[in-house]
Amino acid sequence: MASVAREWREIPGRYNTVGTKCGACGKIYFPARSLCPKCRRASVGKMERYDISEEGEVYTFSVVHDAPDANMRMKPYAVGMVKTTDGVLLTGQIVDIDPHRIEIGMPVRTVLRKIYEDGESGVIHYGFKFVPKW
């Protein structure tokens, strides 16, 4: 079972999709990075907080039937890669829709949801998921 600290320190990214923008080249990253992989040393100290757009569209997706224990009760569920209006790709579940009605290009927005729980007495993990933007 994972410690609470492991979850806690990732809250900005997992709850609010907070990423970073490189002050040297302007590229946006999610999750947050302390070093721009392109600018490397030139980016040190120049990585700025960047709130990733909550709107985007489905780039690709899959309906998962063979699920890990944590998600067993949700199956079949949809997981997708969403391209936000910033041009950043995110991976997460697509919910509040029949998985077989999802289409590539469908507009979605990010919401905060429960992701899974560590057994009956462990940490409840929250994070972002995507819902259709009706």
Partner: protein, 388 residues
């Protein structure tokens, strides 16, 4: 740098080996390779072992020491190093072994690969495999390894790079080739319709699109090319071993329709071997999922972008075809004991280059290429063997 040769190979059967432990299979593959090289074992001065996750599959870390001990190498205090790179662990162990001999640090190295996956239940096994993706930002968000590949497949179909039938044909190809491999987990042919109709794992991929959970081990013995003839009449030259990295998470790539690490590793390997893709006589590619076979065939330059699917569908890639791919049965049908996979590819290619692949033997072998992938293309090794 010294040129390096493969002088001995061995492997266990791949599959659900209920009566064999991790140490049993690791030892067996090593013994077979040493016997094949005509050695006593005392000549070995270095060991590299590809293994992905013994710590989670059998709760045993420190398997370098374990294998050195049970293979008798610890009695000579031979250094043993475990190499981990997700699905590319075996290929990377091979590269480390080649580097050790090429550099002159070692004169006789055994490279092993082993994974015992069936000592845990299937959901646990899949969770371990999922941990080779980005645990924090992919797996724990609900993305499984199968679903990440399914998302690649979905986008490929959407963009017209391959059809569902062409993707399924990768499985049909591997199964057809595995019929003639006595070590394969599945020695049965299958049909396009059966693959497409197989129970859904992560749509559009079904069970027959996915490599199985397997136990198994493989090993090869390496020495300097100039000494190889002292040990065997049929040494095989290692013409190149290359490796490339990419982002851990798939969603951070510029494109998910191609693995850049495969392209770069292949370019480096072709340059080192002084050949181009058209010189490859046979390839073993990492078809952990059917879609991976399509990407591999294109990224390695064996087929143009958008044309690999058709080649698989038309049987060009069968053992008797113009560009044989996965004569062993690949990961899909030979089996995929993860750490062993990359080493087993070298075993198969060595047989092909020597002309000892029995019913799987291709005509006029010259260069054999192996591509081994960790995660969703996050680490890739490409090795080229040359018949001499």
């Amino acid at each position: 740098m010294r040129e390096v040769a493969v002088i001995g190979v061995g492997m266990t059967k791949f599959g659900e080996l209920w009566d064999s432990s991790f140490r049993d299979i690791g030892l067996k593959a090593g013994m077979l390779a040493i016997e094949d090289a005509g050695l006593s074992g005392d000549e070995i001065d270095g060991m590299f072992i590809g293994n992905m996750a013994s710590g989670r599959f059998i709760d045993q870390h420190h398997i370098g020491a374990l294998i050195a001990d049970y293979s008798g190498m610890a009695s000579n205090h031979v250094p043993a190093t475990r190499v981990e790179a997700g699905g590319a662990s075996g290929g990377m162990a091979f590269r480390q072994g080649v580097m050790a001999v090429a550099s002159g640090m070692h004169d006789m190295v055994i490279v092993g690969g082993a994974e015992k996956m069936t000592d845990v239940d299937d959901p646990s096994s899949n969770a371990i495999i999922d941990s080779t993706a980005d645990q924090q930002w992919e797996s724990s968000m609900g993305a499984t390894m199968a679903s990440l590949h399914a998302m690649i497949a979905k986008r490929c179909i959407h963009e017209g790079m391959a059809t569902r039938e062409e993707i399924a044909a990768v499985s049909v190809n591997s199964h057809a080739n595995a019929v003639d491999n006595p070590n394969a987990q599945f020695r049965r042919a299958t049909k396009i319709e059966s693959v497409i109709r197989s129970s859904a794992v992560a749509e559009p991929l079904g069970m027959f699109d996915c490599a199985p959970i397997s136990d198994g081990a493989a090993a090869v013995v390496l020495c300097p090319l100039e000494d190889a003839k002292k040990h065997t009449d049929k040494p095989v030259k290692v013409a190149a071993v290359s490796q490339a990295s990419d982002t851990l998470a798939l969603f951070q790539r510029n494109s998910i329709l191609s693995f850049a690490a495969t392209r770069v590793a292949a370019e480096r390997a072709y340059a080192r071997a002084g050949i181009s893709a058209k010189d490859v006589s046979v390839a073993e590619v990492h078809d952990n999922y059917t879609i991976s076979g399509i990407l591999a065939a294109q990224d390695l330059g064996l087929f143009k972008k958008g044309e690999a699917g058709k080649a698989f569908l038309e049987g060009v890639t069968l053992t008797g075809g113009k560009m044989p791919i996965n004569t062993s049965g690949g990961l899909k049908a030979q089996g995929h004991p993860i750490g062993a996979t990359g080493v087993a590819q070298i075993v198969e290619l060595t047989h092909q280059m020597r002309g000892t692949a029995d019913k799987r033997q291709i005509a006029k072998p010259r260069y054999g290429l192996a591509q081994n992938v960790g995660g969703t293309g996050s680490a890739v090794t490409v090795s080229i063997l040359e018949a001499i």
